[in-house]
């Protein structure tokens, strides 16, 4: 990834920073500048709490260029507590029996092989919530 592009993405990538719509209170990550629901502009920064549930997932056996050292890895779509769905890699999922609806939390991890520029790209991933911190039923 090109350095300026990575720099631009540091808010969402490191801290899951998105936007909140002042018109209808919808929240977005990736950040948007116009709300697709109520067409308001002036969306404000919004930090998501990082808690989520699993919507669906896949184990990638045929990786794209730039992800060979990580294969096989798990990707998924997660439903953030504040509403939106996000696509991300799942971390610490080896040996865990995944299930739709299971609780997850955000962690910041290396998300791809080092490319020709040599630096490491970090970003959000979601991991199954540790048993100890899982709310009791």
């Amino acid at each position: 990834m090109e350095l300026p592009r990575y720099h631009r993405l540091r808010g969402p990538y490191y801290r899951l920073e998105g936007r909140a719509c002042p018109g209808c209170s919808r929240r977005f990550v990736p950040p948007r500048s116009v709300c697709p629901t109520c067409k308001s502009g002036g969306l404000r920064p919004f930090a998501f709490c990082g808690r989520a549930t699993l919507y669906s997932w896949s184990h990638v056996l045929q990786p794209a260029r730039g992800f060979a050292s990580m294969a096989p890895y798990t990707v998924g779509m997660v439903r953030l507590e504040e509403g939106p769905l996000v696509s991300a890699q799942l971390a610490d999922a080896d040996g865990v029996e995944l299930a739709v609806g299971m609780p997850l939390e955000m962690v910041t991890r290396k998300i791809r092989d080092a490319d020709e520029h040599g630096y490491i790209v970090y970003g959000y991933k979601f991991r199954p919530l540790l048993m100890a911190t899982r709310p009791r039923p």
Partner: protein, 383 residues
């Protein structure tokens, strides 16, 4: 707006053309479409292509093709809408003729994918997804569709095996198409044993990387009788869009752009889905066939698998799909696939589909989808 007809079609076989370049393939399809029409005149050339820059190191590809095909100094433009580029290029040609800017326009879709190794093609195809929020996280195109498929299986209590009839149907029909890449029929056993790409998606759920070009010559319907072959009217042409990122939809299993483009095209043609005799849909993955049939109104939500299991998608069924193999069986040279679908639909309506002929077909729908349902282009052709 003027009525527009397709008066000539041409296609190269789909395959791994090691000895032929992007320009060779495009020139062959164009020559065949012009020969088929028996009309010399061409006012403009539109080239549908997704990945020439990434996979062939070549942009400015419309000029390249115009030059190679002997069409200089005519207008030539590249049209890109990811995997829907082939549908988009006919839409561009249709608009140019309908509005009166040009009379005779060639639409050619071409893609050359097999020069590059699989990991490079996988990365290139992911360019249709959101670069920062999907592709950069290693979420391949197959993985996005796999996420959808698993969710669909969860919501509708389906098994992976339930998707097999789509792949089996595509291969059965491809065996009847001399231009198809995968001409061997497959069994349920083959489907179950096929290697996983991104679970639950396996190789037989997925359309294959390939090379090919297909072309259509269009003109005002009022002049179409000049052509050698029976003209095919374009009675519907519509494009609709949805969020680039799959996760940004209210419900990722509802492909709204697909639904909207089909509804608009049917509205223009004053038709309902039940009037359609055959549907060339964008079966890049079996789950895409399912979501497209449901979005377009051929099946209720959650019931497209039943449609396939009952054989209703077969050539003799009430809604035949992928009649000459679809993306799965014919092969999926991405930017060209839409033009193959349209050429095949035209051949069906002309009664020239050989052993794959849908009896009495007079209305066909062809639909190209780019990204994970982020852009959809639907055409309705009639004789």
């Amino acid at each position: 707006m003027r009525d527009v007809s397709v008066i000539g079609v041409g296609q190269t076989p789909v395959g791994e053309h090691w000895d032929r370049s992007l320009r060779d393939l495009a020139v062959e399809a164009i020559a065949e479409a012009r020969r088929d029409a028996g009309v010399d005149r061409v006012d403009a050339l539109y080239v549908g292509n997704m990945l020439s820059g990434e996979l062939a190191g070549q942009e400015n590809v419309a000029t390249l093709v115009a030059d190679a095909a002997g069409l200089l100094p005519k207008e030539a433009l590249k049209i890109e809408a990811a995997c829907a580029s082939g549908g988009a290029v006919l839409r561009a040609a249709y608009l140019a003729v309908a509005c009166g800017a040009h009379d005779y326009v060639l639409a050619v879709g071409v893609e050359k994918m097999t020069d590059v190794l699989t990991d490079g093609v996988t990365a290139a195809l992911a360019l249709a997804a959101d670069a920062d929020y999907e592709a950069a996280h290693g979420i391949t195109f197959a993985a996005l569709n796999a996420i959808l498929m698993r969710r669909y299986m969860h919501e509708h209590r389906a098994s992976h095996e339930d998707f097999a009839p789509f792949s089996i149907n595509a291969h059965r029909n491809a065996a009847l198409n001399p231009c198809a890449m995968y001409r061997q029929p497959i069994t349920l056993e083959d489907f179950i044993r096929s290697p996983i790409v991104a679970d639950p998606i396996n190789i037989l759920d997925s359309a294959g990387i390939s090379d090919g070009a297909a072309a259509l010559l269009v003109c005002p319907a009022s002049e179409a009788r000049r052509a050698r072959r029976p003209p095919v009217r374009i009675t519907g042409s519509a494009c609709a869009t949805d969020t680039l990122g799959l996760a940004e939809r209210t419900d990722p299993l509802v492909w709204q752009a697909v639904a909207d483009s089909a509804r608009l095209a049917c509205g223009q043609a004053k038709l309902k889905p039940k009037d359609i005799d055959l549907f060339e849909l964008h079966d890049a993955f079996t789950i895409v066939s399912v979501l497209s049939l449901e979005a377009c109104g051929f099946a209720d939500r959650g019931s497209a698998l039943k449609l396939a299991a009952e054989g209703r998608i077969a050539l003799e069924g009430d809604i035949p799909i992928c009649t000459l193999g679809g993306l799965k069986g014919r092969g999926h040279p991405v930017g060209a696939s839409g033009t193959y679908q349209l050429v095949e639909t035209a051949l069906q309506l002309r009664g020239e589909a050989g052993p794959a002929q849908v009896k009495g077909a007079s209305i066909g729908m062809a639909q190209s989808v780019g990204g994970s349902g982020s852009v959809a282009i639907t055409h309705i052709l009639q004789v």
